[in-house]
Amino acid sequence: MDFELNENEKMLQNMVREFAQKEIGPLVEKLDKEPYFPIDIIKRFGELGFIGIFVPEQYGGNDMGHLARIITIEEIAKVYAPLAFFFQADQLPLYAILSKGTEEQKTKYLPKLCSGEFIGAMAVTEPSGGSDPNAAQTRAEWDGNKWIINGRKAFITLAEVADVCVFTAKTDKGFTTFIVDRGTDGFNIGHRETHAGLKAIPVSEVTFSNCFIPKENLLGVEGKGLGATIATVGAIGRTAAAAMALGLSENVYEIAYKYAKERILYGKPIFELEPIKYELAQMRFIIESGRLLTYKMAWLQDKGKSPRELAEDIAMAKYVTSEGAIKVCSDAIHLLGAYGTTEEYHIINRLHDAYDLIPAGGTSDIMLLTMVN
């Protein structure tokens, strides 16, 4: 067993780290104070090849794989978690079309998604709940020529800025996935959500009222969309959330560690006090164990294991890292005493981000159920 990253992965890690520090770092202050969606940075993601990192070259990707994808998300989250969340959402339709798309669909959408020219979203969750996708109410009726979609989706990340959206709807045959292009009549973006965290990334409601979808926009096989959707959410949504939570925890740990070394109490840094040491040690433990689970999960993906086979590994990684992130953030806030929730240290923002990671790709309860099944 070789636990070392290979030469390429190390070069990638260094490059993403440098990029995040130089180009995202200077924006953190502003993004936390007055959140906005930084389209310029998204374009850079595309330019540098981050978005299509697991997509074959023929479709505009780099084919470096999932561990590379995870490393990229982690390094960006280390500097600013909300921007790492972009990948969690944008890569969902990318994966869905790559897995189940026709040649025409792949050629039409994948290169543009990889380059960042198109932004994508995946609309599965409905007001009735996301944890039980089969209970969805959005309907797709076939009128002989085209599909007519009616329904509502909730908490759809990036829908507001997306050029293409993969969504699920029930037909007579069952759960099915479709593609809708921005501007299609009857496809509307609803109100924007007001989550406390991940504010730089827009999350909104989406409605379909008599939205006409051409037959070439059917993705995959009619009625066989449930398995594909669960696979996509697992392979991309949950894994990205794990990488994000990991990077976020590392970011907050650095802040707490640095503070502990500088803050003087009773004549010496509080780092010298046992309770502080224990707190920091526990944070480190969460991070290191989370890292092992997350990297292993991605490594197995690259080995060709299907999302179904990896369901438990993915759930474990996501559970430990996302719950861990909440603990790291709240412990850090404790450690910083009166400075804990001040704007200056950004930890409270990261705590909010961490809370909003819990429902992303499936709540912790779902993760636990998956682990034991």
Binding site: E7, M11, N14, M15, N62, M64
Partner: protein, 266 residues
């Protein structure tokens, strides 16, 4: 036509203040300190790549160092260099700038045909700025240091160069190829390689040359070839008082003014 870029791998300068010495050997402990391409050398690479784009040069990165230097040479390739050569071997270790320049120039002589040698003006670790000039001397080619701009004219094989020297902006024309220039770390903004660049670089091999490959005299390389030697190294811990006060209130102003008065008299 070939463009040669000299590259040095150094410890990341962010860690300079955390450097430790081996208590027995009194040498620097480099383990655990990430290594990077010297910043001015990155600018040299960037200049070479932009010349390559406009005039279809072949860019060859050359470095002397231990095996680990391959990391930086891979990065040089990811940035766009076509080839990378590492001069390595125990005969080269412990070299001062003269011995380093000798080895580098022997490698360049072996490459044989080239239009330009581009180098960073100074490295952040040793900061002597001597090596590129000495390479130029060994190769007996015109050398211009700390340039501001360079434009190459393929039509007559000349280059227009400007630099600021002794407070004067000089504009020069080089009519004799090859020549050597150095650039500072402010010369340009080196680009980040993309994921695709990294993947392509990983598929390229770094060429390694030993002392025989470059026909070098072993007495002019490494410690043997170094007229200067280090007799002691100590970690410098600054002895500043580091009294820090917070705020711009009357008290702060008073302390500021009082200290100035006090220190001016000493």
């Amino acid at each position: 036509m070939n463009l040669i870029v000299l590259v040095k791998q150094i410890p990341d300068s962010e860690y300079f203040s955390k450097l430790q010495l081996d208590p027995v050997k009194h040498t620097l402990i480099r383990e655990g300190i990430p290594a990077v391409i010297n910043p001015a050398d990155k600018c040299a690479i960037e200049l070479a790549i932009s010349l390559k784009k406009h005039h279809s040069f072949k860019v060859i990165a050359v470095s002397m160092g231990p095996e680990a230097t391959k990391n930086s040479l891979k990065k040089a390739i990811a940035m766009g260099c076509d080839e990378a050569i590492l001069i390595t071997g125990k005969e080269f270790s412990g070299a001062d700038t003269l011995a380093t320049s000798y080895a580098l120039s022997q490698a360049i002589i072996k490459i044989h045909s080239y239009s330009m040698v581009i180098a960073g003006n100074v490295t952040l670790d040793g900061s002597t700025g001597q090596t590129p000039i000495q390479v130029g001397e060994f190769l007996d080619i015109p050398t211009i240091t700390n340039i501001n701009s360079l434009s190459y004219h393929k039509v007559d094989n000349t280059a227009d160069i400007s630099r600021i020297f002794r407070g004067v902006e000089q504009h020069m024309k080089v009519v004799e190829m090859p020549f050597l220039v150095t650039v500072s770390q402010n010369f340009n903004k080196p680009h980040l390689p993309s994921v695709m660049d990294i993947i392509k670089a990983s598929k390229k091999d770094i060429v390694t040359w030993g002392i025989r490959d470059i026909n070098a005299d072993k007495n002019q390389c490494g410690i043997k070839g170094s007229p200067t030697e280090t007799i002691s190294t100590t970690i410098y811990k600054n002895k500043r008082e580091k009294v820090v006060i917070i705020g711009a209130d009357k008290n702060a102003i008073k302390i500021f003014v009082d200290n100035i008065k006090k220190w001016l008299v000493v």
